[in-house]
């Protein structure tokens, strides 16, 4: 049984922020509820008030301007999987979204909920990091924006304050000459790990490289050092460079043993998927 709470309908973002300010830690933002209702049922989270943000129009919209797709926090995974703008502009994200959990979770769960909950076993954040996505946040003192890489701070934690609301995620499309690839392996409907790669080429060699890995450790991360080491490398050198970076990858990713795999296994598979995703991204860039 889910313990009693009062459900408050917020009609605007300022309405939601005002309620958060008034109720403080007693209130939680309620979107799809896929994670929150389970946590409430098992008493892992206690909350006297849930603030429903689903009827705020701007949080449910997908807008596109100047090559950047702005995704409202209450947009569902299923919408992102099927939306024609997202499929055209952000094919890697559409692909990752189509693999989230199962069709029921995708129909109900929202991107904003997924990012704010920041379960380490999640797909979208990994892809969004490679896109250099930005989180738009509203609070009592107005709006602020923060790079998603800084927004996601650790396992189940973000920089969001108790009186702040995630409004949207702004996702720039990859530059025209880039190729991208998202790869994951999963067990029991949850990703064991996911890897996103985007590359551009110059004279047959890797030029700009963007890499992110999720689910291995406490949070999804960009691999800046490895990105730098791959700059200027020939595709044939990818495997060797990844092998040489295993020690620094381990220190960066802090792999965790869990039901989905040992830390040793995850680190090994990270290397395998990075190599495959990079080759696919190279293939997509040259097409």
């Amino acid at each position: 049984m889910i313990p009693p709470f009062k459900l408050i309908q917020a009609h605007s973002t300022s309405d939601a922020v005002a309620e958060l300010q008034r109720l403080g830690d007693d209130a939680k933002i309620y979107g799809g509820g896929t994670e929150l209702l389970i946590l409430l049922r098992h008493n892992l989270v206690q909350s006297d008030y849930l603030i429903d943000i689903k009827s705020i129009p701007e949080l449910g919209s997908i807008r596109c301007a100047n090559g950047t797709v702005s995704i409202g926090a209450a947009v569902t995974h299923r919408s992102l999987e099927t939306d024609s703008t997202v499929r055209e502009m952000l094919p890697m994200l559409a692909s990752a979204e189509s693999q989230v959990a199962n069709i029921r979770v995708r129909s109900q769960g929202t991107l904003g909920g997924n990012l704010c909950f920041n379960d380490p076993h999640s797909d979208p954040a990994t892809v969004l990091l490679v896109h250099d996505a930005t989180a738009q946040v509203a609070g009592p003192n107005g709006k602020r924006q923060v790079l998603l890489g800084s927004f996601l701070t650790g396992m189940y934690s973000t920089t969001l304050e108790a009186d702040e609301l995630l409004l949207s995620v702004d996702v720039p499309r990859l530059p025209a000459q880039f190729g991208g690839s998202y790869m994951r392996i999963h067990r029991l409907q949850r990703p064991t790990l996911g890897v996103a790669a985007a590359v551009s080429l110059r004279d047959g060699a890797l030029d700009e490289v963007r890499l992110a890995v999720g689910c291995v450790g406490p949070r999804a991360l960009r691999l800046e050092e490895l990105e730098g080491n791959l700059h200027g490398a020939a595709p044939a050198e990818i495997s060797k460079i990844i092998q040489e970076s295993k020690t620094s990858l381990k220190a960066l990713l802090e792999p965790i043993d869990d039901l989905l795999g040992s830390s040793e296994y995850k680190l090994y598979i990270t290397g395998v998927l990075l190599e495959r995703a990079l080759h696919e991204a190279v293939h997509n860039a040259t097409r």
Binding site: I2, L37, I103, Q189
Partner: protein
């Protein structure tokens, strides 16, 4: 304050319709699947108030009078069940698949149904049943 009611509790206790099953209660197994405005959801993890003003379809509403839905017919014909506990959920997830994609491949059916667990392991017969219903629906359409 009364305890918040899930749609599953509303369907089983207040409506007395027991085709929708309670099982994992964490949106993993699919036994409690119903359609809200044609979207498959886990009724065990969905508040009843969310369905206000929306169209709810449970396994009991699938037949047209005495005529079973083509999916129900196909599950019977192909024995797409062993104990039958998961069957309403399997059918209620397959229903929007066929609405959205009338001729799914075997792989598409398997992906779409991957979030529905059958502890008896009747998966091959479940996939054949969904394929059978798709073929039946296509044949029916070309009759007209």
């Amino acid at each position: 304050m009364p305890a918040p009611e899930t749609l599953l509790e509303f369907i089983r206790r207040r409506l007395g319709l027991t085709g929708t099953k309670r099982s994992c209660e964490s949106q993993v197994c699919g036994a409690s699947t119903v359609l809200v405005d044609n979207q498959p959801i886990s009724s065990c993890n969905y508040l009843t108030c969310e369905a206000n003003g929306k169209k709810l379809l449970t396994i009991e509403g699938l037949a047209q009078g005495d005529r079973l839905d083509p999916l129900q017919e196909a599950f019977l014909r192909n024995v797409g069940a062993q104990c039958g506990f998961c069957t309403p959920g399997q059918i209620m997830v397959a229903k929007p698949l066929l609405l959205h994609n009338p001729a799914p491949t075997r792989k598409e059916i398997a992906e779409w149904l991957s979030g529905n667990i059958c502890r008896c392991g009747a998966y091959p017969a479940i996939v054949i049943s969904v394929q059978g219903a798709a073929i039946e629906l296509a044949a029916h359409k070309s009759d007209r």
